[in-house]
């Protein structure tokens, strides 16, 4: 696939707002679509889309935050107050939890969403071509109450913010 095609996909993707978001299934596809670039991007520090053979399947299979971040980005993240992570305090439905990540940080090249309590830590990862608005929105499945972490790669550095999302059986609401 060519870079042009990828850019077109990205534009479709980032027209999305919180309200007019994709379905979870489409968002997942989009994430997979973008995923190939990650290894290449960090390897040569540029927005280069690699072929499907470079899909970072190892990163998506990691079970811990440290291992997943290392496999995906090969760097460590520092906490940042420049990232907005919009996720519910208590999930209305743990199977489809809306999560939005946006940031005003300059030079954003990638955004990833991690669910630390899930069997596989990385729920979604996006590569952002230059000129793309730094905002993604997806719906992720949560196995249980967990911290959800947003990672933003910008200017060759990795930043993170975290929020606890409660998954409850429900009932007994007064």
């Amino acid at each position: 696939m060519s870079n042009t095609e990828m850019t077109a996909e990205a534009e479709i993707g980032f027209v999305l707002s919180r309200r007019m978001g994709l379905t979870g299934a489409v968002a997942a596809t989009l994430a997979a679509f973008f995923a190939p670039g990650f290894k290449a991007a960090h390897a040569d520090g540029a927005m280069v889309m690699a072929d499907a053979a470079a899909y970072p399947s190892a990163a998506f299979a990691q079970k811990t935050q440290d291992a997943a971040v290392k496999a995906m980005f090969n760097m460590t993240a520092t906490a940042s107050d420049q990232i907005t992570l919009d996720a519910p305090d208590i999930a209305e439905n743990g199977a489809v939890v809306p999560v939005s990540v946006s940031t005003a940080l300059p030079g954003v090249t990638a955004i990833a969403i991690l669910a630390l309590g899930n069997p596989n830590t990385i729920a979604a990862a996006y590569q952002l071509p230059a000129g793309t608005k730094s905002a993604v929105s997806s719906r992720i499945k949560l196995a249980k109450t967990t911290d959800v972490v947003a990672l933003v790669q910008a200017g060759g550095k990795l930043y993170s913010v975290s929020k606890n999302v409660k998954v409850t059986l429900g009932g007994c609401g007064g």
């Binding site: 309200r19 305090d89 208590i90 999930a91 409850t168 059986l169 609401g173 007064g174």
Partner: protein
């Protein structure tokens, strides 16, 4: 800002008169020395007629909330708020000496009495100087409301002259049911925290604002005493979690401090209002946390947690300060807020939480007739006496109440279960010893739109997990993760609770009533009601309880089940 704890106590203290002289001494004369008067009622739970309602003897605050309003009961409550013991006011605000005081002061609330009182408070302030705001849970909690889909209470609110309303149980009538109530309501239904889901927006479902996706108007602006008052609505944030989500498939909730801030900024910067008031159904702990986070709200008028707090709390935040109130439940109280306003600023507040002693107020005839009209088709059913009551039956409290113990006993026997789980709702009236418990009483404890009973097999581990889940809704140290109900009531078993622990570690020492330990791996037959899963298509719980009462003929709860508390120590939210 002329506002201190002492001045507020002084104003609240204006009603502490000798009961024999209540009406004669003009206990309901609240002199108006301000620009605008706001009247606030909340969580009346469809109690059209006066009721007995015992305030809790256990309302624990854990961690930062320990000893802080609203987590005070009994003597600690009276001491903190400087209320004399044994008087009318002590009866209204606490559980103390409930039976004796309930006989002496009579039932409380009732919409015909509220109508007389509210009209008098309006007359004192003068034309165009009052607003009446209802914080929600108006339309659920009685047999008549359940049978009419809440329409009876909207009719009463229209006579009362309610200007704005937000919601909680209103949503359990379903999206169409709530739209019908709003269509009949002469005031404005407001909620800044209810949005169309992505799918519903895509499908073009109706919304107040198709850009912001607010399903309802987030606020209303009313002129009051020559000033512009912005009133923002905050519905109960966890409707699809605490109740079956099938009632609100197109709507998504949450606390949304971000959109709250934007709404407040919009009111101040663009609409140039003189005061911003939040009509909230968050619950008091959540309101206190929100007040610290959001700038620019003058007053949060709180409900949901049914806390009758006589003195408002003042919370500092980046924008200055926000005053937080909570106005009790069941129609027992009317909050009177006299606002001293200047252009764009609240300069002073005089707050009085008036207890509504029905014996001291002449009921409004037109309202009484309307109540009777809605009740008439169901009168025979409602007034059926089911059993003689020998000991006080009440619900409210963090862990248990004698009414719920009776309900658990009923389900255990009628459904032949080993263990019963019954929801810890905070509404539900009190029935006095010597009275007969009627079908109306049973419905005032159970009337919901998903009241079918269930019987299922659960392992000991699953029972513990369910209890841990509910307990975290009550005691999570972050109020944004609480839902505002009390602990699930249990029948046929006992347990210990460590509120200061984390989820998974609070519930211990689970035993059957016979003393046998509950085995995590063993399966037990569990009965309950108010499941948030799919419709049960079984008997409604009120029929099961009524059958039990008819055959039992008397109700006597001699030895209330007491949850063993660990690590609570001398908590002012606990009275033995």
């Amino acid at each position: 800002m002329i506002l201190s704890r002492r001045s507020l106590i002084a104003s609240a203290g204006a009603v502490s008169l000798a009961p024999s002289a209540l009406a004669a001494a003009g206990m309901y004369d609240v002199p108006f020395k301000a620009n605008a008067r706001i009247l606030h009622i909340t969580d009346t739970h469809a109690q059209a007629n006066p009721v007995q309602f015992r305030e809790p003897s256990v309302n624990l605050g854990i961690g930062k909330a320990m000893g802080r309003p609203p987590h005070l009961v009994g003597e600690a409550f009276l001491k903190y708020f400087d209320i004399p013991a044994n008087g009318a006011k002590a009866h209204a605000f606490t559980f103390m000496d409930f039976e004796r005081a309930a006989h002496r002061y009579g039932p409380m609330g009732g919409f015909a009495h509220l109508k007389t009182l509210i009209d008098q408070l309006r007359a004192q302030a003068g034309t165009g100087k009052t607003l009446l705001l209802d914080g929600g849970d108006l339309t659920q909690g009685s047999g008549v409301a359940n049978l009419t889909g809440g329409k009876d209470m909207i009719a009463l609110a229209n006579i009362l002259g309610t200007d704005a309303l937000t919601g909680h149980w209103e949503f359990t009538y379903g999206e169409d049911g709530l739209h019908a109530l709003i269509a009949a309501f002469k005031g404005q239904f407001i909620a800044q925290n209810v949005f169309l889901t992505d799918d519903a927006a895509f499908a073009g479902k109706p919304a107040f604002d198709t850009a912001s996706l607010h399903v309802f108007a987030p606020f209303t602006i009313r002129e009051c005493g020559g000033f512009q008052v912005g009133i923002v609505g905050q519905a109960f944030p966890y409707v699809p979690i605490a109740h079956p989500s099938r009632f609100v498939p197109d709507w998504t909730f949450g606390i949304h401090p971000d959109t709250m801030q934007k709404t407040v900024d919009d009111l101040r910067n663009n609409h140039k209002v003189d005061a911003v008031i939040l009509l909230s159904h968050n619950g008091m702990d959540t309101d206190l946390a929100l007040a610290a986070q959001v700038r620019g709200i003058d007053i949060i008028l709180g409900g949901h947690t049914h806390d009758a707090v006589p003195v408002p709390q003042i919370v500092k935040n980046a924008g200055g300060r926000t005053i937080v109130t909570n106005a009790g439940s069941a129609g027992k109280f009317v909050a009177v807020l006299d606002l001293s306003l200047a252009k764009g600023a609240l300069k002073g507040l005089n707050y009085t939480l008036l207890p509504v002693y029905s014996h001291e107020i002449k009921p409004d005839a037109a309202m009484a007739a309307e109540i009777a009209k809605w009740r008439a088709p169901h009168k025979a059913m409602l007034e059926e006496p089911l059993a003689e009551v020998e000991t006080l039956l009440y619900r409210r409290g963090n862990f248990t109440g004698t009414m719920d113990q009776m309900i658990c006993n009923a389900l255990r026997q009628e459904l032949d279960a080993e263990i019963v789980l019954s929801p810890g709702f905070r509404w539900g009236n009190t029935v006095m010893p010597g009275d007969k418990i009627t079908m109306e009483d049973v419905l005032s404890e159970t009337a919901i739109t998903y009241g079918d009973v269930y019987v299922q097999n659960m392992t000991g581990a699953a029972i513990k997990a369910a209890m841990e889940d509910v307990c975290d809704n009550l005691f999570n140290p972050d109020p944004y993760y609480q839902q505002g109900g009390d602990m699930v009531r249990v029948g046929g078993m006992n347990y210990a609770c460590t509120p200061g622990q984390t989820i998974g570690n609070r519930i211990s020492e689970m035993t059957l009533s016979n003393g046998q330990s509950i085995d995590a791996a063993k399966t037990y037959k569990v009965a309950g009601w108010a499941s948030v899963a799919q419709p049960q298509n079984t008997q409604p719980v009120w029929d099961v309880v009524a059958n039990y009462l008819r055959s039992a003929k008397t109700v006597r709860i001699d030895k209330p089940n007491v949850t063993k508390l660990i690590g609570v120590g001398q908590n002012p939210g606990y009275a033995a």
